[in-house]
Symmetry: C2
């Protein structure tokens, strides 16, 4: 099996290496930036190019892994290919590839950094395809490169997973920043909270977050909540975050 | 060295076992509920009692580990003791122990569950004391039972750490619940997000959350943000959370 990558960014880099590790030949790496294409191609014995017309037509799969807003235009520019054309975006519909009869999506639910080694086998993948035969091929590829959950999902489900990923990943990261900022400003060290954070997350993932919830909001302990609010009263922004999440927790458990 | 515990709950259970593991004798376990006192005392070769007057006066330290709102009253009821009297609460001032000349605080920054085994040595501890000699004794005890960070902090700093713990632990756990609830309602499986969550948290704790931030709000990608908001538009509550945290992220990076 032969694969070509359109793009040489964070996702392309990690996915191309994962495919190569599963004995799939990487033929071409295309990037507008030939240096980026070269760096990745050199690691995979592939040919680098910055001219999309130079890509050979004999790959079995063409993987478009670039900014969401460029996918459709690049798909339109990609001609004379017989293989399956897929993109790797969570937020983009399969319809962006409508020019190609044999099309699909191979979306890794993970955040990658080019320069940081990462075991791709822990990455869940969502598949979408224009027909059942292609779905089976993509499922097979996904299961070759990952030991994590692989499943079929529509474009809309994929977009919804993306919303949930923002909540569970981007927003939780931001709360860690706010806690870090507050504690540092007050002469304490965020190191003090790291074991608690690790334990909280592991507990939530091992059981479920709803049952694992603790703290003053969970107990509707208004005395402690008021004492916290008076302690942070000079930070309007933190008060807003504190109130919003406290109300949300109280609300979640009142409904039961 | 001899210690007595007033309380047989989650914190008392784990701290008493940690002290016993460090060759500190546990003399008495007091609890209003004699069954709880018995369960813990049996594991530690200690004497259980539900009568606070039965506690012997020859312990070196008396550790009050009960509900915040009961600490002061129990401290007042504890008489004829010469040892150091401490509590284990993050949110309670050392002044609640004012009856006792030799007093302090030994606050573990961790969430414990009685029935779940836990390696206490990963628990950071905050110390407060009525004088330097007691501070040194408490520091010594803390360093015996934990390999994590141990530091001196005032009652106000401890309360501030508690606020930060609520943000970093209780609030992040709640976001995981909201993501889980949303994704499950939409026919997907929260398993898909677990590897991403683990990776996000590990990255934030290994580097720092401010630099590690990714996602549409970090990029101020209003197109994706608007698309997410329209996707969740029928869930007013989730929209409120999404907007609050998105605005907070945008605001954090705009200030730079």
């Amino acid at each position: 099996m032969k694969a070509t990558f359109i793009g040489a960014g964070n996702v392309a880099t990690h996915m191309a290496k994962a495919l190569a590790n599963s004995k799939i030949d990487i033929s071409y790496i295309y990037s507008r930036n030939i240096q980026n294409a070269n760096i990745l191609a050199n690691q995979l014995n592939a040919t680098a190019t910055d001219n999309i017309n130079n890509i050979n037509s004999n790959s079995d799969i063409y993987i478009i892994s670039i900014s969401d807003n460029a996918i459709e235009a690049v798909s339109e520019a990609l001609s004379n290919v017989d293989g399956i054309v897929v993109h790797t975006s969570g937020a983009t519909s399969i319809d962006a590839l409508r020019k190609h009869h044999r099309r699909g999506v191979l979306y890794p639910c993970m955040s990658f950094t080019k320069s940081i080694d990462f075991d791709f086998r822990t990455t869940p993948l969502l598949i979408e395809a224009s027909d059942i035969a292609i779905r089976d091929i993509l499922m097979d590829i996904a299961n070759k490169i990952s030991d994590a959950k692989v499943m079929y999902a529509t474009s809309e489900q994929r977009r919804k997973l993306h919303v949930a990923a923002v909540i569970a990943s981007n927003f939780t990261n931001h709360l860690l920043h706010l806690a870090d900022e507050y504690i540092t400003k007050n002469g304490l060290d965020f190191e003090l909270l790291k074991p608690l954070v690790r334990q909280t997350i592991e507990k939530a993932l091992a059981t479920n977050a709803y049952d694992a919830q603790t703290g003053p909001a969970r107990r509707n302990d208004t005395k402690t909540i008021d004492s916290h609010l008076s302690l942070i009263a000079d930070d309007e922004h933190l008060v807003h975050i504190y109130k919003t999440l406290t109300d949300s927790i109280i609300n979640s458990y009142k409904q039961q």
